[in-house]
Amino acid sequence: MEQREPELPLAPAAGDGAGGRPASRGRGRTSLTGFLLLPALVFLAIFFAYPMIDIVVRSFADPGGFTLAHYGQVIEHPVYLRVFQITFEIAFTVTLLTLLLGYPLAYVLAGAGKLAASVIMACVLLSFFTNILVRTYAWMIILGPEGVINQLLRYEGLGGVKLLYNRYGVLIGMTYALLPYMVLTLYSVMRGIDRRFLQAARNLGASDWRAFWHVFLPLSLPGVVGGSLLVFILSVGYFITPRLLGGARDQMIAMVIEQHVELGVNWGFASALAIILLFLTTAGFMLYDRLVGLKALFESKV
């Protein structure tokens, strides 16, 4: 009962004398907000926060109590640092490739007529509707030594290429799988760019290309930043595609973690790897924020 009353818009500031700010009303709003958020918060607490804390604890624990041995093991064996390096290399390359492929696609999509846009959108989304495992197996058939690409190349009298169980396979498969995330993020930003800005640029003497370069591209940067972040984060933890399409030299960190959990039953070490990955990714973003500024992502348009 008490909480309903402060919702009156003219309820005077209670206690808090700071410029007559309607503090009581704010409190009423807050309790309602809190109530609405409760289910999600409980869910996150049980299924995200608790496991997260558990992983941190395990990474420092052994039967005898506190230990730094798991982290020491990572530093001792250069192979693990190498895996981290490969993981970030692949994630970075995939981000770049999806951006290069996705930007023009999103640009066309944002400027296309209704019919063309829905056809392109359907093509982009179709891959979402298919199971990832099925899609990856399809790539194995296409890329394999007897696959479509190699058959075509041989038919043309060119030698075959090895596209499966190596870095190429991983990059192709992951770029394919993550492209929709990039396209959709870019598209949502590009669609919000008022075409009149481009008209104004043309009217003021900019050619088609310069209008794009000076006006459209800068205005689409929040989409570039957002899409790249999303793809990078997803890439770093990618598992199925590199597992099926990659070779022994393309082991990504998620695969190593899986091995230690499944085969070694070494929870502590697997946890340490996960925490290091989290730490490196977070540190990377903080650096990126310093250099580029993630603010652009959330900045509102005029």
Binding site: R196, A201, N203, L204, G205, A211
Partner: protein
């Protein structure tokens, strides 16, 4: 044929000519057969309700909408095949279209940078453009930090900084409040006179068109209905649409019964009453006409008097609307209602709803229109 513009002659507005301009989107025709000659340095307004084709016409001039037929000439040169960036037209958009990621200075210098001007000159030019729109020192602000009126000024500065000879304006004052709008109207006129530009201005606001324009082209259903000076359009509208769109009007339909040598004609209204109207050109007895009388041209009196104008009808006050500087009365006759606008506060002090009054007006203020105005 080269224009007569010699060396050393001050740059001034360029003439613009539209010839048989047409725009069709599939079956729907947005603009049909628009022909219009705009003199160098003239301020012309395309006035019409939404959907009348005025903005489409402007977009064709700017080069954003390809014309279906016809040609546009600027300075007597056809520009149909010239891309927008090489038409050298200044333009102020309805939403201003200020680049949100650029400062005020970067916005205004944009057209100069695109033309490869040297840095020092650009800085000077930007400063003087800001001076002209009365925003000196605003260079480093971001557009979103400015009020609507200030954004409007920056958009104007950006459109004139490269000294275009023709300035296009698409409802530039639409989102400003009334006071600010009136102020900006005066500012735009001042700048136009100072730079001696040709201005093609689009608006749906008749007051704005009347106060600012040298000439007005009234558009409706994609066609130009009438072109003329504000006074010509107001006093001699050629059809009911123009008479109704520019200002308010009373329309009386009837048949001409006699035409006199003194330049007046007698018209019998559908109700059987007669009135006299000044006539121009070909009016013969038996012709169906519509007469337009402006509400402020009608006078009201409690009793008929000898010094009253010759058209004198009697009715009852059915509505009194006080609008500040004047009062509007709706006078009900048996089968029609006349609107009268008067500043006579003495009459207003005595007038009551339902009072019997006389409505009088002069034949000179009774404009005969074609009977069938363009729908």
């Amino acid at each position: 044929m080269a224009g007569p513009r010699g060396e050393g002659v001050a740059r001034r507005g360029a003439p613009v000519r539209l010839e048989g301009l047409e725009k069709a989107y599939g079956e729907t025709v947005a603009v049909r057969d628009v022909t219009l000659s705009v003199a160098a340095g003239e301020f012309i307004t395309l006035l019409g309700p939404s959907g009348s084709g005025k903005t489409t016409t402007l977009m064709m001039i700017a080069g954003f909408v390809p014309e279906s037929a016809g040609e546009i000439y600027i300075d007597d040169r056809p520009i149909g095949r010239v891309p927008p960036e090489r038409r050298e037209l200044g333009m102020v958009f309805q939403s201003y279209a200020l680049f949100p990621h650029m400062s005020v200075a970067e916005n205004i210098s944009f057209p100069l940078r695109m033309r490869g001007w040297p840095r020092g000159e650009i800085r000077q030019k930007v400063a003087s453009a800001l001076e002209m729109v009365k925003l000196p020192g605003y260079e480093e602000r971001a557009p979103r930090q400015l009020s609507g009126g200030q954004q409007q000024r920056v958009a104007l500065a950006r459109a004139i900084v490269f000294e275009p000879r023709v300035l296009l304006m698409d409802e530039p004052l639409g989102s400003l409040d009334k006071k600010l709008r009136e102020h900006m109207q005066a500012e735009i006129k001042r700048i136009q006179r100072q730079l001696d530009m040709t201005v093609i201005y689009v608006t749906h606001d008749q007051d704005e068109a009347l106060t600012m324009s040298d000439r007005i082209a009234v558009m409706h259903h994609g066609r130009i209905q009438q072109v003329g000076s504000p006074t010509a359009l107001y006093d001699e509208p050629i059809n009911a649409f123009v008479a109704d769109f520019i200002g308010e009007s009373n329309f009386l339909g009837g048949t001409v019964t006699s035409v006199d040598a003194d330049g007046t004609a007698e018209v019998r209204h559908a109700s059987g009453r007669t009135f006299r109207a000044a006539w121009h050109g070909s009016v013969r007895p038996g012709t169906s006409v519509v007469a337009s009388i402006r509400p402020e041209r009608l006078t009201l009196a409690a009793e008929g008097a000898a010094d009253f104008p010759c058209n004198l009808w009697q009715g009852r006050i059915s509505e009194i609307i006080f609008i500040g500087d004047a009062t509007k009365y709706k006078i009900a006759l048996e089968d029609l209602i006349l609107t009268v606008k008067t500043q006579d506060r003495d009459f207003g002090a005595r007038a009551r709803m339902g009072d019997e009054v006389w409505v009088g007006w002069s034949p000179a203020h009774t404009t005969l229109l074609h009977h069938a105005p363009d729908p």
